[in-house]
Assembly symmetry: C2
Homo-oligomer: 229 residues x 2
């Protein structure tokens, strides 16, 4: 109770299975007394492109645009665009970040990748030697909750898609761990479009159930062994 | 000579190192007699968001929007938006796809991920049982050419970033191989921003040199062993 949760949600359709998972998380966490904020990226028409528009006013070097350098400088002088400042404020306040999305091409949908690219700038999420366990977002937790198109058997070591953990490395280790955020076990709903209505209900119930004891969970050991053992 | 190449390029600044790599590829491949097309995503203000706007006219199911289903149906009846049809035509005609970009967060920049999400729809790039070696884009080659922020020592099995091949799995195997496209060795320029001018020149010369014998290269064996051995 009293914990703050930011859910970054990337699905176009509220009636989708992802929409149901979002609704369950908001309801269950609110019931626990958490304060829940949702960034509904498609509804916000969130901009995924990293451009000069993210910097208000003059550039540090207008001769050759370098997005990393310019957003770092803009962060330091409080000159990032309003939508980025708002998202950073939500991240700053959150104890837990939940990412809810359908896996697109073994990865985050572009709109959610754009959120990572634009919100987690140098100075805010990490800095020169402040990365991984020393990252600037230390003390926070994260959880990747997603649906897949393919079935679970596809995403195994022997399956053609390979172990599902292989696709988690860039997002969990390369983004969250890089910023110092601890990572809880991912929550994966395999192929909800291809299973029975009964099975879908079971999957929704399992998510609700997991959330009840979420705060007692230990983060994973975000090392290569977890991903590629 | 006579080969067609599509370069999908994702950098905001023509004077960047990525811009130089693009220029070298266009020049060298043109000199060989190849026909080279460039999709300069930032200059095109390419839309990365997968939305209802990608379908012209009525929806297959307007009750609940499902992007995968709707773009598949729209593809079949020729009702995808104009920007997608143009990109698909370029892909269809190409013998080789080169992706030129800076690695952002262990991954494709959002604008390039959006190109994958929106252009490679079902019916065009793959279909029900037409995936991996049976994918619909068989006969084509691909090459991921990118720059990193971190140095090469970081991206090793013992480095904190892990083997660079770990980040190639979702893009090479999960996207290109999935569509039946063969994958050439990636071309990686480590930390061009942090090396000497001389070293940068060497890196540009190495790219130019590689392109001279590119058509004699054998694709990699795109299996888990290549990535995680």
């Amino acid at each position: 109770p009293g914990k703050k949760v930011l859910i970054v949600y990337a699905h176009q359709e509220p009636k989708s299975f992802n929409g149901s998972l979002l609704k369950i998380a908001v309801e269950e966490l609110t019931k626990q007394g958490c304060s829940v904020t949702v960034s509904d990226l498609y509804a916000m028409q969130f901009e995924p492109r990293a451009t000069r528009n993210d910097i208000v006013g003059h550039l540090h070097n207008s001769e050759a645009f370098n997005y990393g350098v310019e957003t770092w400088e803009a962060y330091k002088r409080g000159a990032l665009s309003k939508d980025l400042l708002e998202e950073q404020k939500k991240v700053q306040e959150a104890d837990l970040l939940i990412f809810q999305f359908p896996l697109f091409w073994f990865n985050l949908p572009a709109i959610l990748k754009g959120w990572m690219d634009r919100v987690l700038v140098q100075g805010f999420a990490y800095d020169l030697s402040k990365v991984y366990d020393g990252g600037l977002l230390q003390g926070k937790l994260s959880l990747f909750s997603f649906t897949t198109g393919g079935g679970q058997e596809m995403y195994s070591k022997e399956g053609i898609g390979g172990d599902i953990r292989y696709v988690l490395w860039p997002m969990q280790h390369g983004i969250m761990h890089f910023c110092g955020v601890k990572v809880l076990e991912p929550h994966i709903c395999y192929a909800p479009e291809n299973v029975s209505e009964e099975k879908r209900k079971e999957m929704l119930a399992a998510w609700s159930q997991r959330l009840k004891t979420l705060w007692k969970e230990e983060p994973i050991d975000c090392s290569p062994e977890w991903y590629f053992k």
